[in-house]
Every structure is written in C-alpha cells, then in structure tokens.
C-alpha cells in the first residue's frame, strides 16, 4: 500500500493519484527492462526528430495533408467491387507504357480496328468518355 496524500514538491497526491503513480512506475520498469526507455530517449534527440521532420514535412506532404479530409471523403465514393479489375487495368496500362509504340496515321488506325482487343478497348474508352461527359455536365450545372 502507498501512503495516502503524499506531497511531491508543491503537488499533493491523493489516493487515486498514488494508484496511478504505482502503475506508472510499473510501466516504466517494464519499458526499462525492454530497453525501450533508452531507445525513446535516443530517438527524442534533435538529430533524429529533426531528420524525421525534414523527411516528412515538405511542400508536397503539407499540401496533401491540407486536403486529407477531402481525400478521405473521396474514399467513400470508391466502388470497391471494381477495384480488382481496375488493378488489372492499371498493370496492363503500365506495361503498355514501357512497350515501344509507333506513330499511327488514319490508315494505320483503320487497320488496327480489325484487332478484337483494340475494338474492346475502344468500346471501353467510349464508356469512359460518356461517364466523363455526364460528370462534366453535372459540374457545369452546379
């Protein structure tokens, strides 16, 4: 048991405070055993904290953080069921980016249209264009 109504400096510690203090000392002992007190103390140095701040606080992160409420709001709008297919699409597009591409004229375009994959892609693109147009119409009416 701890003494009741302990005085530390000008602060009087009542029974509840004493109980908290005992728990806190227990926690400190555990942190010390694990060597975490030393680690935390080392981490809280000017160099480490300054280095971390330099890494994390830049114009880009501050701009992004400033919009974090809007960004997280957008997350609610995402159709998560379509994410897998979107993922496939993104990796297909990324590999196309690294493939060599040739300039194509009108005749080349007409010949390409015989390729069933190109036709499927075109159908999809038209769908996307339609959705973009619909959304723009909404935004302009606002």
């Amino acid at each position: 048991m701890v003494a009741r109504n302990l005085e530390v400096g000008s602060v009087r510690i009542d029974e509840e405070g004493a109980e908290a203090l005992v728990k806190f000392v227990g926690l400190l002992k555990r942190l010390n055993e694990l060597g975490l007190l030393d680690a935390v103390s080392d981490i809280l140095s000017e160099d480490v904290v300054g280095g971390l701040a330099g890494l994390l606080l830049n114009t880009g992160t501050l701009k992004a953080l400033d919009n974090v409420d809007r960004l997280t709001g957008l997350l609610g709008e995402v159709d998560y069921d379509s994410l897998d297919r979107l993922g496939d699409l993104i990796s297909a597009v990324s590999s196309a980016v690294t493939e060599e591409s040739k300039p194509v004229g009108l005749i080349g375009l007409a010949t390409s249209l015989r390729d069933p994959d190109i036709r499927r892609g075109l159908g999809f693109t038209l769908n996307v264009l339609k959705a973009v147009g619909r959304s723009l119409r909404g935004a302009q009416q606002d």
Binding site: E46, V49, G50, G54, L57, T59, L62, K63, L65, N67
Partner: protein, 396 residues
Amino acid sequence: MAEGGKVVIVGGGGGGAIAANLLAGKFDVTVIDRSEYHYFQPGNLFIAFQGKGPTLYRRRIADLLKPRVDFVRDEVASIDLDEREVVTASGRELNYDRLIIAAGVHLDYSALENHEALLNTFGDYYHTQEMAVKLHESLRGLKSGTFVIAVADPIYKCPPGPLKAAFLSRELLNRMGRSSSVRVVLAVPFPHAYPSKTVSDVVEPELEARGIEVRTIFTADQIDLEGRKIVSLEGEELKFDVATVVPPNEGPKIEIRPDAVRDGSGFLKIDKFTSQVEGYDDAFAIGDCTNAPTSKSGVTAHLQAETVAKRIMGMDARYTGRTNCPIILDGLGTFVISDYEHPPVPVRLSKFKRFMEDLFVAAYWSSIRNPGFWGPVFEAYFRATEPEVLERLGGW
C-alpha cells in the same frame, strides 16, 4: 563563468526567453523582466471567448528559463548603449558584452480619451489575462445588443487578433443562444477585413456567412462611454453595448541612450535581417519592440531570437521577415504567410491548418524551454511553406 562573455536580455517574453535558452551555458546570460510570469498572449482570446482558465496560458519566467540563465525580476529603467549599461528601477546596474532588447510593445490606453474607462468597464483581450476574464463576463452578461471590436491604429501586434476575436466571439454568442439577439461588428482601419487583400478574400466570405458585420476604413478615435458609441478618425459613428478597442502600440517605456536608435513611435531601429540595433554591433532588438517591416508576432520574435542567438555564437544568420500568423474560426484555420520579399500568399481555410495551429499552441511551452530541440522541426515546416514556393504553386 561561461567563456563567451556576458549577455543581458531585457524581457523574458516570447523572444527573450528563446534567445536566453539558446545561449544558456555558452554565455553568462541574464534575463531581466518586471513580470513574474511569461504570458502566452493568444491565450487571452481563449480566456475571453472560450472561458478557458488563465493559468493554462502563463508560466513563471524562472521556470521557463534553463537553470544556467540568471533571472532578475525588476523593471528596466534605462539602457546606455555607449556605456553598455542597463539600469533598473530598483537601482541595479548591469554591464554587458552583448545586449538583446526584447521588451515587447507598450499598449497605450491613454491615447484615446475614455479608453481606460472602457477597458475597466468591459475588459479587453489585448491588455492582460485579468481583463480577458472581465471581457468574458461582459459577453456572458450581454443578452442582446451589439459587441464592437475596433482598432485605434493600423500598426499593432498580431494583425489577425481582431479577426480572431470576431470569429471566436460570434461562436461564443451563438453557443449561448444569442445568434440573433447579439450582433458582432468588426471595425478596422483598412479597406478590407484584413490589411492584405489576398487574406481578406479568404476570410470575408466566412465573416459574411456567420453574419459578422465589417466596417472598413474605421480608425477608432473617440470613445463616448456614456453615449455608448465610438467615433472614427474618418468621422463615422458606431453604437455599442459592449466594446473593445486595440490601443495604439508603441516601443517600450525605457529610456534608451542615444535616442536616435528609436523611431517616432519609440520602436528600435534595427537592420531587418540581422536585428542589430542601428550603429551598434553589440546590441540587438527582437520581437514586437522593433521597426522591422513585418508583422509583430510571436513567430517573428521566435525567428529573430534564433537569428540573434546564432549571430552571437559567431554564425551568419539572417531573418527573412517570415510570418505565420494564424486565423482560426470554428473548426477551420489559415495562416498569413509572407516575408520581406513576398506579400501574403493565398492560403485556403482548412481543417488541417486548424489542427496544425492547435499543435503549435500545444507545443508552445516546450518550444520556449527547448528551442534547440524544436528548431529543426520548425525549420522543416518553414522551408516547406516558403512564400516563394507557395506563390509558385498558387498558394496552399
């Protein structure tokens, strides 16, 4: 005895305490302040308009300074720059190798007739914590009518202060169910709600949305306490039931020799980059008491304190004139970000900036006591939000 020599610092407010703690141990540092406490002045707003307790926003100066700094509680009466001597009201004489004057502004409540009576009747959010408590009581007692927030001179510390008072008092009155029975009127000596048009464009729609009335080009000049009205220099009248007026700000009430180092309002003439007092390489002035052409703000005092501490330690450092004055309203915040080269850049109101401001407030006491630890963190923030960079990106 530290090797560097003797540094005397006049004032243990934002600028003085930071400079002292940065130089502690490297020089023999003495801070002289007439006050036992260091006050976190933005706290006055929270006391007056949110009913917060004053003790949250003050600390004993002796506890804020590192153990190796000497604290002398006394009023500085005179400074002789040629003799390198500081004399206090109780007759102490201190000599120095380097001097830092960080004595803040003198708030002149005697310039406008009846201003002192107005202060004592309703309280105020610039004067002291006691007066902030009184203003809170005045607003609680105002069941219906008009609360006027006015300004007596375009140069005063914390330019967004009156704006913050307008937003926060509106919030308080609304919470007390007086959204329609009490009007809040903000009267400013500028053509817009804030000196900078860019900043005004950000805040004016918010003032309007909250029904806060703005009277522009209204420089409070006469206070008629009986008739409950304020008359402006421009000849207009404003009726009130409760009012507060930011008084003219002047340089500190200290006799400084030679007098030529002061401008007409008593502010110390300094090199705006190095903070060196004009004509003296062993004397510096920082914070609100100087004539530097930038906002009088805690951020300015802090950055100038770092600059001067570095220079005294033999490094080359220059203050860019950077400001970061916060404007806060219910749940949102923005900062007035500018420097000597760039007028305020567009900075939109956001929840994140309000959160950042709450973080700055929470870190205040720690940043005064341990400026060396916080230095690199603030530096990263200031670099990330340099006016030049933000301007190029169209703002923040």
